[in-house]
């Protein structure tokens, strides 16, 4: 297991947001998390990445495993060029030398289809491009596991496709991915496992085929709201 989350509980004041969540992620595995607004999906990713601390339970990464997080609203550094956004952490944090970091950053930008925009600033790019830069930035830290929190929710509908496409193109890199998404067709297509969360509980889980054909009435009710599968 690259990451094991055991009995995770988290409350904000009186609100129990996560109630005993258990998830294990194997190297290279792709897990999608779906569920209605407020079910605790973001909170779970924030606990897994250390942005929040769970009240109880264990989060155990494999020794030396590195993680990355792609935010709904990108959170690129506006004062840095695209290339600087991607190579700054490798240089400053991982202490890679500049030339190596730059070459690797360009490789990731190329994979994201953005090699020609390396010198642009985030404000000059479309939302879809900004999110692809954010993905390149996360990849540049050589993560073993990458979390995505609704990576296309802030995008105009016509831009979601390009971002989903590049996420899909990462599947063969053997990086584990945990993707919170409302894109059901995408989740069905890309995932090894789909997890349905509601009110802080994992209600249903399985392979895409299992989950999208689940006879759990709550799963059916939730999926019934999406007619794009």
């Amino acid at each position: 297991m690259i990451l094991e989350m055991k009995h995770i509980k988290k409350s904000f004041d009186d609100l129990e947001v996560l109630k005993d969540i258990n998830i294990g992620i194997k190297p290279g595995e792709i897990i999608s998390i779906i569920g209605p607004s407020g079910s605790g999906k973001s909170t779970l990713l924030r606990c897994a990445t250390g942005l929040e601390t769970q009240d109880s339970g264990e989060i155990v990464y494999e020794d030396g495993a590195k993680f990355g997080l792609v935010f709904q609203n990108f959170n690129l550094f506006p004062h840095m060029s695209v290339l600087q956004n991607v190579m700054d952490a490798p240089v400053q944090v991982m202490k890679k030398d500049k030339e190596t970091a730059k070459a690797e950053a360009m490789k990731w930008l190329d994979k994201m289809g953005l090699a020609d925009r390396a010198d642009a600033y985030p404000c000059q790019l479309s939302g879809g491009m900004q999110q692809r830069v954010a993905i390149a930035r996360a990849l540049a830290k050589d993560p073993d596991i990458l979390f995505f929190d609704e990576p296309t929710s802030a995008l105009d509908p016509e831009l979601t496709g390009e971002v989903l496409k590049v996420i899909k193109s990462l599947a063969d890199l053997h990086i584990a991915m945990v993707i919170v998404t409302h894109e059901m067709a995408f989740a069905k297509d890309i995932s090894d496992e789909v997890i349905f969360m509601e009110k802080g509980v994992i209600v249903d889980r399985g392979t895409p085929d299992e989950l999208f054909a689940s006879d759990n009435p709550r799963t059916q009710e939730f999926l019934g709201r999406y007619n794009n599968i």
Binding site: F67, F71, N75, L76, H79, A89, Y121
Partner: protein, 215 residues
């Protein structure tokens, strides 16, 4: 008195005015940062005292503050105030402007979205790296227009040193005007302040445009 003599008499005052201006900026720009961090301190007494101090600095006239700094030591401790005039002016201006800058810094720093800190944390930046590489450059851009306003106000505020009978441009203009029964010293002073502010504007526009490469 010829125009040339007037000008040369007043030029000494101009240098003193410029002195106040430079000392105030050099002292208050960094001190404002210190005050901001003291106000944010987790040690309660420090943050409360700093907060009250900043409010007093911003809530009372600078002219009054100058009088307090000048005469306070005498009335409170009975210290002679002989050579303290310029010292009181420096202390008064630096502390007053530092309080304003502290609030400008606070506004700028608090306007940076939390997502910037979170992205930096996930990428592994230390707290110091985050502040220096990610937050500060964005803050500088945001606060520059407010800083420009303060600097322009400062050019004019230097004339308050006249309260302590310090011989800067404004004091000299008044004295000369009275002794020479001439309006010219005021014109000279006016032109001086105007030109000074014009130069400040040009300089600050240059600095601001250095941050124009993104928005």
């Amino acid at each position: 008195m010829t125009f040339a003599t007037m000008l040369s008499t007043m030029s000494e005052g101009m240098l003193r005015t410029i002195g106040i201006f430079v000392i105030t900026l050099v002292g208050s720009l960094p001190l404002g940062f210190v005050m901001y961090f003291m106000k944010k301190s987790k040690i309660k007494p420090i943050s409360v005292i700093t907060k009250v101090f900043i409010e007093i600095m911003r809530g009372t006239p600078l002219m009054l503050q100058l009088l307090v700094w000048y005469f306070g030591p005498y009335y409170l401790f009975g210290w002679g105030i002989g050579n303290w005039r310029f010292g009181a002016i420096c202390v008064g201006f630096v502390l007053n402007y530092a309080a304003y800058f502290a609030e400008i810094y606070r506004g700028g720093i608090e306007s940076i979205p939390r997502g910037q800190y979170e992205a930096a944390q996930i990428l592994g930046y230390t707290k110091n790296q985050t502040f220096i590489r990610i937050i500060l450059p964005q803050v500088v851009k945001i606060i520059l227009p407010s800083i420009t306003n303060e600097v322009i106000t400062l050019v004019k505020d230097t004339s308050l040193a006249f309260t302590l009978a310090y011989q800067e441009v404004f004091s000299l203009a008044q004295q000369l005007s009275a002794s020479q029964t001439s309006f010219m010293p005021f014109v000279i002073a006016g032109v001086f302040y105007f030109v000074a502010n014009y130069l400040v504007s040009i300089g600050m526009t240059k600095v601001e445009s250095a941050f124009d490469y993104y928005d």
